[in-house]
């Protein structure tokens, strides 16, 4: 796995009257899990979509090892992204879905079976997606993101719909991925869920970065929850 940092500088996006993201700047380092934490509607999903070029920013830049997503030689082989808008055609089987995206991304067909094993989708591989639970869809989205054996994972609330065993598995998975040298940027509105797994934290509120730093610095401030509420209160007063 090659070391690919995520560098976000001055990203901004406005939807009509709503300033969804305002001057968001942070770095997610290779070999680390970076938590991107904020309440619903704080601007997490919009930022992540701008990162991978699905939404065009009004200002600012987002780069993977110095290259914007669109200009990467092998985009889905460099970055695997699971966004909140990841869907699947209900009449396709999991295998059909994965084959389609392996072909589109230019990845070896053999990767389909590998990611199915990796994400524990074997029992559902040949079933139509119509009958999938939210958790199974989430696993399928992760399997799709892993098709290109990427160096970077961008995950938007990936534990939504996962059962406790699934959440445990996901934590272990991203920890191993980062320990192997990969870059993980993972968003969540559930603070406790990420505290045990992240190396760094970026707190976002109303489209602005409130605080960012390492897990050690966070511990000095009394942990994620204390920090979050402290900052959120300051935000309310400001």
């Amino acid at each position: 796995m090659s070391a690919v940092d995520i560098e976000v500088a001055g990203l901004a996006k406005r939807f009509g009257q709503v300033e969804a993201v305002h001057d968001v700047t942070f770095t997610a380092k290779a070999g680390q899990v970076t938590g991107f934490i904020g309440a619903n509607g704080a601007g997490k999903s919009t930022t992540l979509r701008m990162l991978v070029g699905l939404t065009a920013p009004d200002r600012g830049s987002a780069e993977f090892g110095g290259t914007p997503y669109r200009d990467l030689v092998d985009p889905s082989g460099t970055v695997g992204a699971v966004l909140d808008i990841a869907g699947a055609h209900p009449s396709m089987t999991a295998v059909g879905h994965l084959r389609t995206y392996a072909a589109l991304g230019g990845h070896a067909p053999a990767r389909v079976d590998e990611v199915i094993t990796l994400t524990g989708l074997e029992p559902y591989a040949h079933r139509r997606i119509r009958g999938f639970s939210t958790g199974m869809r989430q696993r399928l989205a992760l399997a799709t993101a892993l098709l290109g054996d990427p160096d970077v994972l961008v995950l938007d609330e990936p534990s939504n719909g996962l059962d406790p065993a699934g959440i445990m598995w996901l934590r272990l998975f991203i920890r191993r991925f980062a320990d192997a040298g990969g870059t993980v940027l993972i968003s969540s509105h559930v603070l406790a869920e990420l505290e045990q797994v992240v190396d760094g934290v970026v707190l976002i509120e109303r489209g602005r970065v409130l605080w960012s730093g390492s897990r050690a610095q966070l511990a000095e401030q009394g942990g994620l929850e204390a920090m979050y509420f402290q900052l959120a209160t300051i935000g309310e007063l400001a």
């Binding site: 939807f15 919009t46 979509r49 991978v52 070029g53 699905l54 939404t55 065009a56 997503y69 669109r70 990467l72 985009p75 889905s76 970055v79 992204a81 966004l83 808008i85 990841a86 869907g87 699947a88 055609h89 209900p90 009449s91 396709m92 089987t93 059909g96 879905h97 084959r99 389609t100 995206y101 072909a103 589109l104 991304g105 230019g106 989205a141 799709t144």
Partner: protein, 265 residues
């Protein structure tokens, strides 16, 4: 580009759309043509020319021009299902150059349109020959002339599928796109065909161009003279074919250019 085409072909093969395409092509081309082929022309109102005349064959095969909303809808539904089922984001992640993605889709569905066209005109050809044989009538067109009419139908079907894909790509929303396709076929174009004065443009619209290509302007003429007392203007089959292809090109260019900057939310 070849990887995107392979991807779209894989997607197509992973759904039931190819099966539906074959079934609909054969059913729409065969049944309506056969039905009309068996009607005794003297019993119809307005009276139709019989199958023993070239005009009569044109009218019977011309019913297929009214069924071209089927390939258009197949194209529209195929491309908008990416928005409806929220897979378009994943597609653009695998291939961030959106213009290339849309081009690959247009190419693949153009190809599916040709398959649809060949099947539907094959079924229509069999149906009209079968109806004539069953009624003991000699078809009013020779084999070469009949083949030309059927080739026109096949081209029109492929063009309509491409236009359908383009409308789907432009609208994004599946319901709106289907509404546009059906609204155009069942409301706007028939309306433009009968309004005096305005019907001068009808031959240059996709439906009118299709009629010209298939030599089935009889219905338009009959309707126009019945309602306005004026003969509807007509264009040559060659111009009709050229116009149809031009519509496909314009639709394809718009479909590739417009969604490029669209934010996915």
């Amino acid at each position: 580009m070849s990887r995107l085409i392979r991807g779209e072909l894989t997607r197509l093969a992973s759904t039931r759309l190819p099966l539906w395409t074959v079934l609909l092509a054969v059913a729409s081309g065969g049944t309506m043509t056969a039905l009309l082929g068996f009607i005794d022309p003297d019993q119809s109102n307005p009276p139709m020319p019989g199958l023993d005349t070239a005009e009569g064959v044109g009218v019977v095969l011309g019913i297929n021009a009214m069924l071209l909303f089927v390939p258009a809808l197949i194209g529209t539904i195929a491309v908008t299902s990416e928005y409806r089922h929220r897979t378009i984001g994943t597609t653009f992640l695998a291939a961030p150059h959106r213009g290339a993605v849309l081009s690959a889709k247009l190419l693949v569905y153009g190809l599916l349109g040709v398959v649809y066209g060949v099947l539907t005109s094959g079924a229509a050809g069999l149906a009209v020959s079968g109806a004539a044989a069953a009624r003991g009538i000699l078809l009013g067109t020779g084999p070469a002339e009949l083949a030309m009419l059927l080739a026109g139908l096949a081209v029109a079907a492929a063009v309509y599928m491409v236009i359908g894909v383009a409308i789907g790509a432009l609208a994004g929303n599946q319901l709106i796109a289907v509404g546009i396709v059906l609204g155009y076929f069942y409301f706007l174009e028939p309306l433009l065909m009968i309004v005096p004065g305005v019907n001068a443009v009808h031959p240059f619209l996709p439906g009118g161009a299709t009629s010209a290509l298939m030599g089935s302007t009889f219905l338009a003429d009959a309707l126009a003279s019945e309602l306005s007392g004026l003969a509807a203007p007509t264009i040559s089959a060659g111009l009709g074919a050229g116009l149809l292809l031009a519509y496909a090109v314009v639709a394809a260019v718009a479909a590739v250019a417009v969604p490029l900057r669209r934010d996915l939310r």
